[in-house]
Symmetry: C2
Subunit: 199 residues, 2 copies
Amino acid sequence: MEKIMPRIKEAKFKKNEIIYSAGDKSDTLYVVRRGRVKIYRLSATGKEQVIAFLNPGEFTGELALFRGGTYERFAEATMETECCTISREDLQEFLVEYPTIALKLLEEFSNRIETSEKQQTRYATEKVDTRIAMFILESLETDSTMVELPMTKKDLASYLATTPETISRKLNEFEEAGLIKRHSNKKIEVLDADELFFI
Amino acid sequence: MEKIMPRIKEAKFKKNEIIYSAGDKSDTLYVVRRGRVKIYRLSATGKEQVIAFLNPGEFTGELALFRGGTYERFAEATMETECCTISREDLQEFLVEYPTIALKLLEEFSNRIETSEKQQTRYATEKVDTRIAMFILESLETDSTMVELPMTKKDLASYLATTPETISRKLNEFEEAGLIKRHSNKKIEVLDADELFFI
DNA sequence: CGCTGTCTTGAAGCGTTTCAACACAAGTGG
DNA sequence: CCACTTGTGTTGAAACGCTTCAAGACAGCG
């Protein structure tokens, strides 16, 4: 590990700053230390589709390292963000030297595929009510009933494949049904998690 | 490689035979040699969602090897199918012994993530016309204008997150617009690929 | 305090699904 | 080889869910 540390650099990004764009030459892995990063793609017809939000500890940029040479997605800081970076060459070196890192990476990739497919299945088979309800339930910390949405409605709408308007309306419905209570714009209390699950 | 070969076994599956189910203990990697395998998930509400069709050369079962211990998906032979299988332990051994296999796997995983995210973006942002058109275009062999759909309309509908009825109707529209010509139930000729792309 | 972007609410419109009925093809057994 | 069955594909009409557009409310921030 002593060999790795000196090769790691720091990078800071301001709110709304683009970390990398689709088409950029891919040669860096970013590990989020502080802040939050939004990952999104553009569809063939140019619409933005949010894929994920990265919190501290999560990383991005790894995909393109093993395939072509360019990023396929966009990464954007949604607030003041600090990342550790490591170059493609250094990473490759470490992977050969410490094969267990590769196994860890394989595990992480497996989780990503699982997440992506789950999301894919959700878009395809569940209606908007269900997608929103599931998102809220998954955002619940253990032993808590409060959810803090860490993004704008617009980004959330993109992530859930719907529109901000629809999210507004559905949250209204949930509240009228006594399933949730809205404390502020982005703060939601879950009153009846069981019922919410079976929406 | 001489060490690997003897650890590889063969498995045959009849049409509609389940290769593995979600929840099964995961301990085997399957490489398709002949036939075709349908991979699908069940959504939280029990609906079937086709994730992929595997052709000879492609493999499955690898995901769960690196994470929990159970499959999350279903694999089903859609015709007489032969697979090579390799056990979890053997694979792990090889990965440590031949680190380049891990790199290959990482590359393959990267491609899967890319595919899944692309599909995810498509469900989320494109309408049915576009999804069907794109599927047809991607099914085209190089330098050919004929597409042979290797699955039932029901499975295709599930893969494209729509219904068989809608696919029927849309293909009618495409045909009336002179973009395609239907030769038989599953055989489609693309007459105007450019126009089809901009549906 | 006023500006800008985000969020909400309402009404209209559209695309897709759903349901039901029918056509068709493939496979089975007499 | 034909009748029967079963699964798959098509067509039509009705219903529904969501998006879209437009306008107004609200909040954050200089």
